[in-house]
């Protein structure tokens, strides 16, 4: 019972309230102070909590029982309770840490924007929800954060709402996420039905798992499928929404419409990784569903590859980073798919560092270029922005996986996991996907190099008007870049594998590390050998990627053009430039037909059939009858008398008839 935990999400929330309600009157200075102090405080509290659980007093986790939330005694008991263990600790620290930096960065970046206070309010709110997401001790509370961050990303993507495109992007993000959340909901229902609880601890509890493991679905559709597999898959679909995996990745690139710091925080460092977090959080459950895992692996690898290919040809610097994010996330899921949760999570952390760095770097460039994002209009910025250039380069190398930078270790672990699952185990499918991931690694290196080259090297393509105006952003922006550069340089040492003499601290701390047990000597040797080979391979591929990229895009090389002119190149280029027409396809297959059908239903069923025909029709019928009867009143006395007489006769007939009947009985 540790109510301090509450303060971790509460500080940012207070910040949100203050900025949201009073922001307009307070003036930007105060706003920025409030906004950035809030996550810092949260960070300090989180840090304290972290100290508590690492200081070996036996407490491995903190818990705040909170209060009953959705609570029907004995039927459905969902508390509003927070749980702070290794996993959430790391996430909290990353969120608040990177978050604080990005808040600081934003102070510089958003200077003079009319929506200044609104921006920071949103940012704080996001931090709140994100922290709730990682601290929640049950799925439903996690879901609050889950949808909350979705909301904030919606608001922040559409931050400059005067532009329709931004709003559209925001809307798209929210809707696509909602689709994923739908699956998430159903997954929770399954948990409730079969586990009888949403408590995360209970869901990963071995006994419960064994109990449920035997249960399978009845009914035609999924008959025979294991319940746990079902849950895992549904939750994973939810994850694909948040973490932009096939088929729901389409929103992330558009999300770049938001301010760059937002892209850095939400769409690179934190929110998009929450899917990975979910899987790690429920590791045992996923492990109990091998089929689900293999699907995760497939999706992850495919996403990684697809995104990488698309990244090749993007000219918007942020789009490149966006697709690289998608691809990296694919990596993480691939890792999860092959069972290397620790590696995946490790990559989450390092990726948070270097991708944030990259985004902020690009932000710095964009800021300097007065919101020019097209790389073709850049080039040669090395001179004007030396510092940014250095940091961006660090980021690039880190993501490319150049030792000893952060990316190297995490990526290497993933690749090795794939190698182990595929080549060493001799499983063809996994090995296939291992090749894919290796290739992706190379491509990553390549397109990142392209990005650097086009932006910073070569001759300046900068618009004449901007020439000279471009200058190094100082103050908070620089500071944030600096810190993150260091982080992405050294972040890798958090989790140095054993055979390199490390202790995989992170893995152990988060409890995700599965250390191979009872290995004989030579098995261990073989393992390390394999690990070494895969490392070499990854090094080689990264180097190759960088090299090729450099050769392609170095000053005055005609290679890209030459490539584009070759027929296959042209074809591939077209595909990649147009993102394989996925958006168009979705529009054509789902969105437009749906609206058309709705329109049709509206006119056909709702208005014509029900309203006109049935409702007004019946009314008309009655009135018609009325009119008929009215006309029968001719005003013609003999006619009246005739009706009178006939009526009388008919009645007499009926009477005699009935009497005859009665008599007969």
């Amino acid at each position: 019972m540790d109510s301090n935990l509450l303060w971790i999400p509460l500080f940012p929330f207070l910040g949100f309230l203050i900025n949201g309600i009073l922001g307009k009157r307070m003036g930007n200075r105060t706003v920025s102070i409030v906004a950035s102090v809030a996550p810092l405080l949260a960070f300090s509290v989180a840090f304290g909590a972290w100290r508590k659980i690492v200081s070996d007093t036996g407490v491995s986790a903190l818990h705040w029982d909170g209060f009953p939330w959705i609570w029907l005694d004995g039927l459905l008991e969902v508390p509003f309770a927070l749980h702070f263990d290794g996993l959430s600790a790391v996430m909290c620290l990353v969120i608040t840490g990177v978050g604080s930096l990005i808040h600081l960065y934003s102070i510089g970046y958003m200077k003079g924007d009319p929506g200044y206070h609104r921006y920071f309010a949103y940012l704080n709110l996001f931090t709140t929800f994100m922290l709730l997401l990682v601290l929640g001790d049950n799925l439903l509370l996690l879901f609050i954060g889950w949808e909350g961050v979705g909301l904030c990303s919606y608001l922040l993507i559409g931050f400059w709402f005067q532009d329709d495109a931004n709003c559209a992007a925001g809307k798209k993000a929210f809707i696509v996420n909602r689709i994923g959340d739908l699956a998430f909901l159903l997954g929770m229902f399954l948990c409730l039905i079969h586990f009888g609880t949403l408590d995360l601890a209970a869901l990963v509890n071995a006994d419960n798992l064994n109990q449920v493991a035997s249960e399978t679905f009845e009914g035609s559709l999924f008959a025979g499928m294991g319940v746990i597999t079902g849950i895992a898959l549904l939750l994973f679909i939810g994850a694909t929404g948040k973490s932009a995996q096939i088929p729901l990745y389409v929103w992330l690139p558009d999300a770049m419409a938001g301010p760059t710091p937002v892209s850095a925080l939400i769409h690179a460092a934190t929110m998009v990784t929450s899917g990975v977090y979910l899987c790690c959080r429920l590791m045992p459950l996923f492990q109990a569903a091998p089929m689900a895992l293999s699907i995760v692996a497939v999706v992850g690898a495919c996403t990684a590859l697809l995104a990488a290919i698309i990244a090749f040809t993007q000219n918007d610097i942020k789009k490149v980073l966006a697709y690289s994010t998608v691809s990296q996330l694919g990596y993480m899921f691939f890792a999860i798919g092959v069972g290397a949760f620790s590696a995946a999570f490790f990559h989450v952390v390092t990726h948070a560092f270097f991708k944030a760095l990259l985004f902020l770097g690009s932000g710095a460039v964009i800021h300097a270029m007065h919101h020019e994002q097209d790389m073709r209009k850049m080039g040669g910025l090395r001179k004007q922005l030396p510092f940014t250039h250095i940091t961006f380069l660090i980021g690039t190398l880190a993501i490319a996986g150049v030792p000893p930078l952060a990316g190297f270790f995490s990526k290497d672990e993933i690749l090795f996991a794939g190698y182990q699952a595929g080549i060493m185990e001799g499983d063809t499918l996994s090995s296939l996907f291992w090749y894919v991931s290796v290739a992706t690694a190379g491509m990553t290196a390549f397109y990142m190099m392209r990005c650097v080259a086009m932006t910073f090297w070569g001759d300046s393509q900068v618009d004449q008007k901007l020439e000279g105006k471009v200058h190094e952003p100082g103050g908070w922006i620089g500071f944030a870049l600096f810190v993150l550069a260091i982080a992405s340089a050294l972040g890798g040492f958090l989790n140095v594998p054993e055979f390199l003499g490390g202790h995989a601290i992170l893995g152990h701390f988060t409890g995700l590390h599965v250390s191979p047990t009872d290995l004989t000597k030579d098995e261990l040797v073989a393992l390390h050998a394999g690990e070494f080979t895969s490392m070499l391979i990854s090094l080689a591929i990264a180097g190759a990627g960088l090299l090729v990229g450099f050769l392609f895009y170095r000053k005055g090389s005609g290679l890209p053009a030459a490539f584009r002119n070759s027929p296959p190149g042209a074809f591939l280029g077209k595909l990649s430039e147009n993102k394989f027409y996925v958006d168009e396809m979705y529009a054509a297959v789902i969105v437009r037909p749906f609206e058309a059908i709705s329109q049709l239903l509206h006119t056909l069923i709702d208005q014509v059939l029900i309203d006109k025909l049935l409702v007004n029709g019946s009314a008309l019928l009655v009135r018609g009858l009325g009119e008929l009867f009215r006309r029968m009143q001719t005003g013609f006395i003999p006619g009246y008398l005739l009706t009178f007489g006939c009526g009388a006769l008919v009645l007499i007939y009926i009477l005699l008839n009935s009497m005859a009947k009665a008599g007969a009985q």
């Binding site: 949201g20 209060f67 009953p68 939330w69 959705i70 609570w71 029907l72 005694d73 039927l75 459905l76 509003f80 609104r118 439903l140 879901f143 609050i144 889950w146 949808e147 909350g148 909301l151 919606y154 559409g158 709402f161 005067q162 532009d163 329709d164 709003c167 559209a168 809307k171 929210f174 809707i175 909602r178 689709i179 959340d181 739908l182 909901l185 159903l186 229902f189 409730l192 039905i193 009914g219 749906f594 609206e595 059908i597 709705s598 329109q599 239903l601 509206h602 069923i605 709702d606 029900i610 309203d611 049935l614 409702v615 009314a619």
Partner: protein, 499 residues
């Protein structure tokens, strides 16, 4: 400090119910030219009603699920009609909702309504009496009385203070509702002749013990009741009166209609139709659930293609109440709790949405989405409130909408995964049409000159909107304080259904 009623037994339910009616009488005596006075008096009266209902809640024992604070006087002895009021978990929240909504409705009409002010307020007060009365009545005829009594004021409100096609809409509303309620009336009379009483509690036990109904009777009687309530809900395909009524009705009308009146249907299902004829209800469960699910999706699709904001929200009501109906036919406490919460939630969110549309309508006199856009930059405060309302309506976790939806969907999913899944798509669609509207309404560039001068919320409006927001958050984060009131009754009810 809530006064203990036992000490001096105050007919609290009668007070809650009839205060507005007396208020109406009071208004009738005021000169119709002194509008300000009329408005103030009406407001005071409605606040008094709120106060009384709070006292009622204070004296409501949430530990037991039985009828409470009952008042039972014989009224028309010769016809066996009694003045029998009572409150339990089914009704208490709805009563609260009603008497909570009304004051703010009155505040919202301050500027909106300026001709025949007196009649308008009288009508609204009578309407309030009708609604609360229907919620507390435990005698079938008494219920029918209030149920119909709501009709006339609402009819006048739409017809006198409504929009262009108000006459058509009002008539449609009236006749549509009459169709159902008349058959219910017959069914009530049949029950009376069968079991010899109009009193609900007596009926329930007599139907169980001494005067059981055979299958055929149950079937038809249930249909008669259900038809009436399905029209009120409105359940697809009986919903076409709602869009017209909403579009034509003045703001206050729409708010009351969406906020409370529609709940009459689902409440009726839970209070009368299902408990009185459980077997028939269970036989027809499938059909009704499918209708509900269809309604959820159909309503959402309709909302997606609307250009008139009010119409859009009207259809969203069809969709949302589909959830409630779906839950009404479940037999587990979870989804029933969800149903009741969802009624309240829908009352809050949709009520607030209509209030806000009324506000903008006062300023711009158009409801066509095409005439708006970019308001967020012109009226930031308004936009914030509006977005909150929208979020609550699309069931964002942490706001009220989610809790109800979650419980309902869970219940439905457990009963039949297919229902659960289909209904759940309603959540996605909800986000779809709502955000579409928000985008067209608030975001984007300000294209119309007229929108540049729109004034932001004034203090009065903020005052009457804020309580809604507060309640939304409260219900979203600490629903227990409401579910506790409901749960015991529901568990009793479920037991009753199961055997």
């Amino acid at each position: 400090m809530i006064p203990e009623l036992e000490s001096f037994n105050l007919p609290i339910l009668s007070l809650v119910t009839l205060t507005p009616a007396f208020g109406a009488l009071l208004l009738a005596l005021i000169d119709s030219n002194s509008k300000a006075l009329i408005r103030q008096v009406a407001l005071m009266v409605s606040f008094l009603g709120l106060l009384f209902s709070l006292i009622m809640v204070g004296n409501f024992d949430s530990s037991v699920g039985v009828m409470q604070l009952e008042e039972n006087h014989s009224w028309i002895e010769s016809l066996g009609i009694s003045y029998h009021l009572g409150v339990d978990g089914f009704s208490i929240l709805l009563i609260l909702l009603t008497s909570f909504t009304m004051p703010f409705v009155f505040m919202s009409t301050w500027k909106a309504v300026d001709h025949r002010v007196k009649e308008f307020h009288i009508a609204l007060l009578l309407l309030q009496t009708g609604m609360i009365g229907a919620f507390v009545a435990l005698d079938l005829v008494l219920f029918y009385l209030f149920y119909e009594a709501m009709l006339v004021p609402m009819y006048l409100i739409i017809g006198i203070w409504g929009g262009k096609d108000r006459v058509y809409a009002a008539l449609k509303f009236f006749i549509y509702t009459m169709v159902g309620s008349l058959f219910m009336f017959l069914a009530i009379l049949y029950l009376y002749n069968h079991a010899g009483t109009f009193d609900l509690t007596l009926l329930l036990e007599r139907l169980k013990t001494t005067h059981p109904l055979d299958v055929i009777q149950q079937f038809w009687l249930f249909l008669a009741f259900a038809l009436s309530f399905a029209i009120k809900v409105p359940l697809f395909p009986l919903h076409t009166w709602l869009p017209d009524a909403h579009v034509q009705a003045p703001t206050a009308g729409s708010v009351v209609l969406a906020g409370v009146l529609l709940k009459m249907g689902t409440y009726g299902l839970l209070r009368f139709a299902i408990p009185l004829f459980p077997d028939a209800a269970m036989d027809l469960r499938e059909e009704f659930c499918w209708l509900a699910v269809t309604g959820i999706i159909f309503g959402a699709c309709m909302a997606l293609v609307q250009t008139d904001i009010k119409k859009l929200i009207a259809y969203s009501s069809v969709s949302h109440l589909g959830f409630v109906v779906l839950a009404c036919f479940m037999t587990d406490v979870e989804s029933l709790t969800g149903a009741i919460l969802q009624m309240v939630n829908h009352g809050l969110s949709t009520g607030m949405l209509f209030l806000m549309i009324g506000i903008i309508y006062e300023r711009r006199h158009t409801r066509d989405l095409a005439d708006y856009g970019g308001l967020a930059s012109v009226v930031p405060v308004y936009s914030v409130f509006f977005i909150i309302a929208v979020l609550s309506s699309i069931g964002l976790p942490g706001l009220n909408g989610f809790v109800g939806e979650f419980l309902i969907l869970f219940g439905a999913f457990r009963a039949d995964p297919l229902w659960g899944m289909l209904a759940a798509t309603g959540v996605v669609l909800g986000a779809l049409y709502m955000l579409k509207m928000v985008k067209a309404f608030l975001f984007g560039p300000v294209v119309h000159e007229a929108n540049k001068e729109v004034k932001d919320l004034n203090l009065r409006e903020i005052i009457y909107l804020s309580p809604f927001v507060v309640l939304m958050v409260w219900l979203g984060l600490y629903p227990s304080s409401f579910t506790n009131l409901v749960e015991p009754t529901l568990s009793l009810y479920v037991q009753l259904l199961q055997n």
